[in-house]
């Protein structure tokens, strides 16, 4: 069973993601802020990180760069409401493995997660 670290500050979105992951047989750990995400990513063993860009404490892009340095092989999927090609190109260039634009459909989320984890193995 794949274990996903979800870094998302919005409670309803966290709940939605949790239910979707559960429905598709993923194990998961929740982080409500950037700092919590960095701490959990460094400490635990995960198959992928689902990372929001806009977070209350430190920016998702910064979380990404810290995680990249600490865990170079850990796949990171950015899931954001920032809808522009510039953002996508930027996060991919910064080392993200995939980019999802909110609102995200259930099947899209599951497909991207499975593909990303598959490629990282």
């Amino acid at each position: 069973m794949s274990h996903i670290l979800v870094v998302e500050d919005d409670p309803l979105n966290r709940d939605l993601i949790a239910r979707r992951l559960e429905a598709h047989g993923f194990d998961f750990t929740m982080a409500e802020s950037g700092k919590e995400g960095v701490a959990k990513a460094s400490a635990g063993e995960f198959d992928a990180v689902l990372l929001d860009l806009r977070l209350p404490d430190i920016d998702g892009a910064e979380v990404l760069s810290i995680v990249r340095r600490a865990r170079p092989t850990l796949p990171v999927i950015i899931m954001t409401a920032h809808g522009s090609t510039v953002t996508r190109d930027e996060v991919l260039a910064a080392g993200a493995n995939a980019y999802l634009l909110k609102p995200v459909r259930r099947q899209e989320l599951i497909d991207v997660l499975e593909q990303t984890i598959e490629r990282a193995r």
Partner: protein
């Protein structure tokens, strides 16, 4: 004998020039006339030899005369000015009275010389007068020119002042423009940032609205009743519309802020339109419409941004589809026109009121139009985006419309891309 009775004193009062001379040649007395004739002499007059240029023989004959003697000679006058004269001498007691008469021939010659000199002088004077005239004219001319120059100078300095004023005004205007431009740029930046923020803030809750609704419709929240399914489908549709508005708003903000760049390439227009036809087919079918595409023979490649060209045509075609009743006819025609590629998107739809036409390409204007056709959803931003995309290409768009008859949107794009 008249000569004998004339006394020197009497003679002296006469105008006749005469001298009383002793037999040994000394000048004893001189008449007024003689004094005038001799003039102001520098050397003193003592003897006849000082007065007349006579040979020694003539002088002796004259002084020895007992009756009458006459001869010609030169009278020494002032230096360099001697006169040829005739002399008549008569004895007066022991002395001799010498009358001087001017030699007429000599006088004539002198007068002729004088005349020549005079005419020469006259000529010279005339020449001088001419020169003076020319000089005077030249002077007048110079004065006129000087006056004109001073007027011109005043005029030029007035013009220079005016130019300076204009320059200052221009500089002021420029400053104001720079300020206004900076303000405008700042406003665009703020607006763009606002839209980006708004888009983000709307998308985040939409994620859970649409996510939960989708999952519920998929039965993940338990069994659905038909009513619940109807409710949830409405939520999904409205959410999609809201998402569409937010997306277009962000697109337009990007276009307006000038951050969106054209990626020009050689575009195969036929391929783009085939793609468009495929996308339009289900929409056209759903409303039982027809969509006729006419491409002119041998259309060359168009230098354009392929994605943006597609966006322009899709927007116009989907508008035609939305604003045309069931069973209506849509068409797209492409042809070349004087170095432009022209696209005509035509429909037999509800048309646009003439009062709406001037504002058609403004943001959110079409929201009024959507009320006329139930079930049609519009963001009111599509045509504003289309106009922007065409402007970026250096093209133009025109619309002809008759209410209840239909509309034609014509787009011209430059063949060689924007210069």
């Amino acid at each position: 004998m008249l000569e004998h009775v004339l006394s020197v004193t009497a003679l002296a009062q006469e105008e006749l020039p005469c001298f009383l001379v002793s037999r040994d040649g000394r000048v004893l007395e001189t008449s007024d006339g003689a004094r005038r004739m001799v003039g102001a002499r520098t050397s003193p007059v003592h003897t006849v030899a000082d007065l007349f240029n006579l040979t020694a023989g003539d002088r002796a004959d004259m002084l020895a005369t007992r009756v009458r003697w006459s001869g010609s000679c030169t009278l020494y006058r002032e230096e360099h000015l001697n006169v040829d004269v005739r002399l008549v001498a008569s004895p007066r007691g022991e002395d001799v009275l010498v009358f001087v008469t001017v030699d007429l021939d000599a006088l004539t010659r002198f007068q002729e010389e004088l005349g020549a000199m005079n005419s020469q002088l006259t000529n010279m004077n005339r020449e001088r007068a001419k020169q003076a005239g020319r000089l005077a004219r030249a002077l007048t001319q110079i004065e006129a020119q000087a006056h004109e120059l001073s007027e011109q100078k005043e005029e030029i300095s007035a013009q220079a002042e005016e130019l300076q004023t204009q320059f200052e005004q221009l500089a002021d205007a420029n400053d104001r423009l720079v300020e206004a431009n900076a303000e405008l740029e700042e406003r665009e930046r703020v607006k763009s940032a606002f839209y980006a923020n708004l888009s983000h803030e709307v998308r985040a809750p939409l994620n859970s609205i649409m996510g939960f609704t989708e999952d519920a419709l998929d039965g993940l929240a338990g069994p659905l009743t038909p009513t619940l399914e109807y409710y949830l489908t409405n939520v999904t549709n409205s959410s999609k519309h809201l998402l569409h508005i937010v997306t277009e708003m962000l697109d337009l903000a990007k276009l307006q802020s000038g951050r969106a760049a054209l990626e020009l390439e050689s575009v195969d227009v036929c391929a783009v339109i085939q793609e468009l036809e495929a996308l339009m087919a289900p929409l056209v079918k759903r409303r039982q419409q027809t969509f006729a595409v006419t491409l002119a023979d041998g259309l060359p490649a168009l230098t354009a941004d392929r994605a943006k060209l597609y966006q322009i045509l899709l927007n116009l075609a989907s508008n035609a589809n939305k604003y045309t009743l069931e069973g209506g006819e849509l068409s797209l025609a492409v042809r070349l026109e004087h170095g432009w590629m022209r696209f005509d998107v035509r429909d037999t739809g509800i048309g646009i009121a003439p009062t709406e036409l001037p504002y058609l390409f403004e943001e959110f204007r079409q929201i009024h139009r959507q009320r006329r056709l139930p079930g049609v959803q519009s963001t009111g931003l599509g045509l504003a985006i289309v106009k922007r995309l065409i402007d970026m290409h250096g093209g133009r768009i025109e619309v002809e419309s008759t209410p209840d008859m239909g509309s034609t949107f014509s787009v011209w794009l430059p063949m060689g891309g924007r210069a």
